[in-house]
Subunit: 199 residues, 2 copies
């Protein structure tokens, strides 16, 4: 006899696919939902369904987007001439939340990793090239993570911008080496952004 | 402007209602689901819906139950005459998974806590009394937690069984197997000492 009944088992297995959730936490979550949060569980199922249905990607910056017009791709943001390139949505949120930067973004949704089959196309770099060719970008601010792959990606991005005569900068290494941008405190992040250096 | 768009915000808020999930983890989970696990997200929403719809409580033992016949309330399990009383479903799973015990259970779904309005009725004790009156129970094994409220509950349960002339036992509390004496809290240690057994 398996430990759980079929539906309970499916619920626990589904919860385990959430990042950072092991078997013990998944069981705790399932019991909690069934015991004390049936209303919250209903809302979670509903919120997931609505998110899957209504949240797509902005064709311009590749950030999650659920409206006609992307909140990050406005004329006001373009006016400054800054385009900040980040690896993922959490990095964008960290910069937006923790710094005064209000320019445009480009979200790679990953980093160059040839061994995993992640090349320029997977990161939407043709789309980035088209963006740079629009003519309004005066400076590309590279905010990839200071990891080996993040640095390789930064190098590639810098070459793309330089080939178009666009100034390139890299956020300063106040971000600890090997650290993940999304877990850095706001002060460090703001410092790293203002202390960016020309590449 | 709020940090997240409306649907994303609702998803993150719903995930935060899971136990042990703070704002950072909720954001990470939401982005993970949208970025890399859309299929897993769909399955999670489905599993939650199915669980809410199909998982109820066994009227006899109060454990989660989704079938006509409860897997824990079988004639084979009753035959031994043991009834183990636990506070919650996770306790039942821990005993079932970690020990050779294959008797009957009664799940309180809480513990006596008058200040929180949790009395005998909320714990289904009238139902437990009826169970004890069925006549097959020869021993009630009390496995509530060794907290103040758990002990008060244990006392109450013991009185119920004794009033019916049924043998009562309490699972042993002490230094965990493989545990280091010096790292065990004082309360546990005192309990282990006073509860010492002849060798
Ligand atoms: Zn956009
Ligand atoms: Zn049952």
């Amino acid at each position: 006899m398996s430990t759980y009944s079929p539906r309970l088992n499916r619920l626990i297995e589904a919860l385990r696919r959430l990042p950072g959730v092991g078997p013990k936490s998944a069981q705790r979550m399932a019991f909690h939902l069934l015991e004390r949060e049936r209303d919250g569980a209903r809302q979670l199922a509903l919120a997931i369904g609505e998110a899957l249905e209504g949240i797509g990607r902005c064709p311009s910056c590749r950030m999650f987007c659920e409206d006609e017009a992307c909140r990050y791709c406005t004329p006001e943001r373009s006016a400054g001439g800054h385009l900040c390139v980040v690896e993922g949505p959490a990095d964008l949120v960290a910069i937006e939340h923790g710094t005064a930067y209000r320019g445009r973004y480009f979200v790679l949704m990953g980093r160059l990793s040839p061994l995993d089959g992640i090349g320029p196309d997977e990161l939407g770099l043709p789309r980035l090239a088209a963006l740079l060719d629009e003519g309004w970008v005066r400076e590309v601010i590279i905010a990839t993570n200071p990891t080996v792959e993040g640095e390789a990606t930064a190098y590639y991005l810098a070459e793309m911008a330089k080939a178009r005569g666009i100034k390139v900068s890299r956020i300063a290494h106040g971000v600890p080496m090997g650290g993940e941008l999304e877990y850095v405190d706001a002060g460090t992040l703001a410092h790293a952004l203002s202390g960016r250096t020309a590449v």
